[in-house]
C-alpha cells in the first residue's frame, strides 16, 4: 500500500511539474536561466560549423543564435550551442532541450502541422543540388540515370530525389541515407556514392573546405527550392514573435545602413526612426518582453544581415556563395530579404 502511495504521489508530482513548465513562455525561461540553449549543426560549414583550428562555432546559423542571445539577454556570449542533427533537431526543441533551433532547416507544411514547430522568417534561400567527383565526368543531372545518390537522413532531399527519379522514369537509381554530412562526404570520396545531394550551400561548403576543391563538380541543376529558417516549439507566440522581430531587425538594419562599425554613431542619430529602432528614448522591445535596445544589442554582437552573410558566406570565405541576383539579396536590390514595416 505504501508503495502505491509513493508511486501515485510521484506521478502527480511529475504531472504538476510538466504542467507548470508548459504554461510559461520560453522567453521567460531563458531570461530566468540567463543562458540561451541554441540548437545548431556543427558539421555544416558556413551555417553551423565547429572550426577545429580556433575551437569556436561559426556560421550564419551560429550568428543568429548569438544575435538572439544578445537581444534577449544583452550578452552574445550567453549562448550555449547544442549540436543537433537533421534527425534530432525537431525532438530537441519539442522536449525543451533547446530553446530555438537554427540548423539550415527547410520550411515544409508537414513540419508545421504534424511535428508542431513554428518557423521564424526565412534567413537563407537555398536549393537542392547535386555534387559529383570531377573524375566521373558527369556534366548534368540527366546523365546520372542508375547512379547511387547519397543524402542525409531526415532531410527534404530524400523525397526531392525520389520525385526527381519518378519524373524522369529512372527505376534503378538509389537513395542511400547517412546520419550526417561528414559520413555522407566520406561515402562520396570513397566512391560508394556516385553523387552527393543536399542543399547547394552545403555542397559548396564541403567542396570548398576540402584539400582539393577542384576534385568536385556541383552540377548546374537545382532540383527543388529549400528556404531555411529557424524554428521554435509551436503555441508559444510570445517567444516566437520576439524571435521573428529580432530576425527582421537584422534585415532592417542592413536596409537602413546600420552596421556593427557605425552603430555608436547611429545611436546619436537625429532620425526619429533610427532612434526608435535602436531603442533611444523608448523603442519596440517592451511589447515583445525584450529591452528597448534589443536590435542595437544584436547589431553590436554580430552586425546586420549583410555583415553576417559576408562573414560566413561572402567572397572572403572558402565557400563563397554569390549573393547578388539571388533571393538572398535585399529586396531593394531585387532579392527576397525583406523586413515588414517598423514604423
Amino acid at each position: 500500500m505504501k508503495l502505491t502511495k509513493i508511486l501515485t504521489a510521484g506521478v502527480f508530482a511529475g504531472l504538476a511539474l510538466a504542467a507548470t513548465q508548459a504554461s510559461a513562455s520560453v522567453l521567460d525561461t531563458v531570461k530566468q536561466r540567463g543562458t540561451l540553449n541554441c540548437g545548431t549543426d556543427n558539421t555544416a560549414p558556413g551555417f553551423g560549423y565547429l572550426n577545429t583550428t580556433t575551437g569556436q562555432m561559426e556560421g550564419l546559423d551560429v550568428d543568429f543564435c548569438k544575435a538572439v542571445a544578445a537581444a534577449v539577454l544583452g550578452d552574445a556570449s550567453k549562448v550555449k550551442f547544442v549540436t543537433v542533427t537533421d534527425k534530432s533537431r525537431f525532438d530537441a526543441v519539442l522536449t525543451n532541450q533547446v530553446d530555438v533551433v537554427f540548423a539550415h532547416t527547410t520550411i515544409k507544411p508537414a513540419r508545421e502541422s504534424s511535428i508542431a514547430v513554428d518557423f521564424l522568417p526565412i534567413n537563407f534561400y537555398d536549393g537542392t543540388g547535386i555534387m559529383v567527383k570531377a573524375d566521373l565526368g558527369v556534366k548534368e543531372f540527366a546523365e546520372l540515370d542508375g547512379a547511387t545518390f547519397c543524402t542525409t537522413q531526415g532531410s527534404v532531399t530524400e523525397t526531392v530525389l525520389t520525385s526527381a527519379f519518378k519524373a524522369r522514369g529512372w527505376a534503378n537509381s538509389k537513395v542511400l541515407t547517412y546520419e550526417n554530412l561528414e559520413k555522407l562526404f566520406a561515402a562520396l570520396n570513397s566512391g560508394r556514392c556516385n553523387a552527393m545531394s543536399t542543399d547547394k550551400s552545403a555542397l559548396a561548403a564541403w567542396a570548398g573546405n576540402s584539400p582539393n576543391p577542384a576534385d568536385y563538380v556541383i552540377l548546374p541543376d537545382t532540383l527543388d527550392k529549400s528556404p531555411f529558417a529557424g524554428f521554435v516549439a509551436a503555441n508559444d507566440s510570445k517567444w516566437r514573435n520576439a524571435l521573428r522581430w529580432i530576425t527582421y531587425g537584422l534585415f532592417q538594419a542592413e536596409e537602413s545602413g546600420i552596421t556593427q562599425a557605425n552603430l555608436e554613431e547611429k545611436l546619436k542619430s537625429d532620425d526619429p526612426f533610427v532612434q526608435k529602432f535602436l531603442g533611444i528614448g523608448g523603442g519596440y522591445g517592451k511589447d515583445f518582453g525584450l529591452s528597448d535596445d534589443f536590435v542595437a544589442q544584436a547589431i553590436k554582437a554580430v552586425g546586420n544581415y549583410g555583415e553576417i552573410y559576408n562573414r560566413n558566406l561572402g567572397p572572403d570565405t572558402k565557400m563563397y556563395l554569390e549573393r547578388k541576383g539571388t533571393p538572398n539579396a535585399l529586396w531593394t536590390e531585387g532579392g527576397a530579404i525583406y523586413s515588414p514595416l517598423w514604423n
Binding site: 501515485t8 534527425k87 546520419e179
Partner: protein, 403 residues
C-alpha cells in the same frame, strides 16, 4: 479415551488454526499482488494520459492512420510484403508509391535478413574459435585468443564504422572490380551469379529437380553417414546433369556504368553490418563454447582417450554434442542481443528497421507512433528467437534423455 478425544479435538482445532492462518496468508499475498497490478495499471494509464495531454497541448494527434499514406521516399534496398494478387502476399522491391506500413515491413525484412545470416554465420565461426582456443596447436590457440580478446574489448559501433569505411568502401570501384567465376566484388556491392530455372514444366526436368531436392534433404536430415554420402553424391551428379542439359542456368551479374544487374547482390552496407555483427558475436559465442568445454568433467576426455579415439573424434563425437546441450540457452541470449544490435546499421546507412523509422519519423512527424511500432517489432522478434531456442533446447534434451 477421553484424553485421546481431547487430543484429537486439540489437533483438529490446531489444524483449523493452521488452515485459517494459511487462508489469511494467502489472502494477504493475493491482496498484495492485486495492489501491485493495480498500481502498475494506474501508472501506465497515468503515463499514457500525460503523454496524450502533452501531445494535445502541442496540437499533435496520436494516430496510426498515417501508416496507410503513400511513403514518397525510396529505400536503397529491401523488399516488402505486397498483396497484389488477392490475399496471398509476395515479396517485392519497395518503391516510393508503397505505403508507410510497407516501408516499416521493408525495415523488418532487412533486419531479419541480417539477423538470420548473422545467427548462422556467428554460430559456426564462434564454435570454431571456441574450439580453437583449446587447440593443442600453439598458432591456432593464440590466434583465436587474440581475435576474441580484441573484438570483445572494443565497442561494436566502432568496429562497424571500421568495417564499413576502412574495409568495405576500399574495395575496388565497379569499373575495376575484382571478378572471379562470375562473382563481382566492388564498393558498389558484392554480386554473385544466381541459379535460374530454364526447364519449364517438362516432366523430365521436374523429376530431376525433385530428386535433387530429395537428395539434399536426405543429406541434411539422415543420421547415417553412409546414406549421407550417397545423398551428397546424387545431389552433385543431378546438379551437374541439370547444368549440362541447360534446364538449370546461372545468371551472371553484368556490370554497367553505375551498378551491376543480374544475379544476386549484397550491398556494401549489408556486408559491413554482417561482418561487424558476425565477428563480434562470434567472439562472445567462442567464449561460451570454451567455457562450456572447460566445465565438462576431465573424465570425458580421459574416457575418450582410453577408448582410443583421436582428438578430432573426441571433440566431434564426445565433447561438442554435450556442449551444445548446455550452451543453447546462452546462445539464445546472444542471438537476441545480436538481433537488437542490427539497429546500429543506421550508423552506416543500412536500411534496417530503426533507420527506416528515422526517415518515416522525419517525413511524417509521427515519431511517437513510429517508436511504438519499432519497439513492438523488436520485442516480437526477440520472443520468436527465444521461443525457437527453447523449442530446440527441449528437443535436444529429449533426444539426449532417450539415448
Amino acid at each position: 479415551m477421553t484424553i485421546d478425544r481431547t487430543d484429537a479435538r486439540a489437533f483438529a482445532s490446531e489444524s483449523d488454526m493452521l488452515a485459517s492462518k494459511r487462508r489469511r496468508n494467502r489472502f494477504r499475498h493475493d491482496a498484495i499482488q492485486v495492489a501491485i497490478i493495480a498500481a502498475a495499471v494506474a501508472l501506465v494509464a497515468l503515463f499514457a494520459y500525460a503523454v496524450k495531454e502533452g501531445l494535445a497541448r502541442h496540437g499533435i494527434q496520436f494516430s496510426f492512420s498515417f501508416l496507410w499514406d503513400a511513403a514518397g521516399f525510396d529505400i536503397s534496398e529491401g523488399k516488402t510484403l505486397v498483396f497484389d494478387n488477392g490475399l496471398w502476399p509476395s515479396l517485392t522491391s519497395f518503391t516510393a508509391d508503397r505505403t508507410i506500413a510497407q516501408a516499416f515491413v521493408t525495415g523488418i525484412v532487412n533486419t531479419i535478413k541480417v539477423a538470420v545470416l548473422a545467427i548462422i554465420l556467428s554460430t559456426v565461426l564462434g564454435t570454431l574459435l571456441g574450439v580453437g582456443r583449446l587447440s593443442t596447436n600453439w598458432v591456432v590457440r593464440n590466434l583465436s585468443f587474440w581475435c576474441v580478446e580484441f573484438v570483445r574489448n572494443t565497442p561494436l559501433l566502432i568496429q562497424l564504422v571500421f568495417w564499413y569505411f576502412a574495409v568495405v568502401l576500399h574495395f575496388p570501384p565497379l569499373a575495376a572490380a575484382a571478378k572471379f567465376y562470375g562473382v563481382v566484388i566492388s564498393q558498389q556491392g558484392l554480386y554473385f551469379p544466381s541459379p535460374v530455372w530454364h526447364g519449364g514444366s517438362s516432366p523430365f526436368a521436374v523429376a530431376m529437380a525433385v530428386a535433387c531436392c530429395a537428395a539434399i534433404l536426405g543429406l541434411i536430415l539422415n543420421g547415417r553417414a553412409k546414406i549421407r554420402w550417397i545423398c551428397a553424391g546424387a545431389a552433385v551428379v543431378l546438379l551437374g546433369v541439370m547444368l549440362a542439359t541447360g534446364t538449370l542456368g546461372l545468371d551472371y551479374p553484368v556490370t554497367s556504368r553505375f551498378q551491376a544487374s543480374g544475379g544476386t547482390s549484397m550491398s556494401p552496407e549489408m556486408a559491413a553490418l554482417l561482418l561487424a555483427i558476425v565477428v563480434n558475436s562470434a567472439s562472445y559465442i567462442a567464449e561460451i563454447v570454451r567455457g562450456s568445454i572447460d566445465a565438462l568433467p576431465k573424465g570425458q576426455w580421459e574416457a575418450a582417450a582410453s577408448l582410443g579415439l583421436s582428438r578430432r573424434n573426441t571433440v566431434n563425437d564426445i565433447i561438442l554434442p554435450q556442449v551444445f546441450r548446455v550452451v543453447l540457452p546462452s546462445f539464445g541470449n546472444q542471438y537476441i542481443s545480436l538481433t537488437k544490435n542490427t539497429a546500429l546499421g543506421i550508423a552506416i546507412g543500412y536500411p534496417e528497421l530503426f533507420n527506416i523509422y528515422g526517415t518515416i519519423a522525419n517525413q511524417t512527424g509521427h515519431s511517437l507512433e513510429g517508436i511504438v511500432i519499432v519497439m513492438v517489432s523488436y520485442l516480437v522478434l526477440s520472443w520468436v528467437i527465444s521461443g525457437l531456442v527453447a523449442w530446440a533446447d527441449r528437443r535436444l534434451t529429449k533426444r539426449g534423455a532417450a539415448r
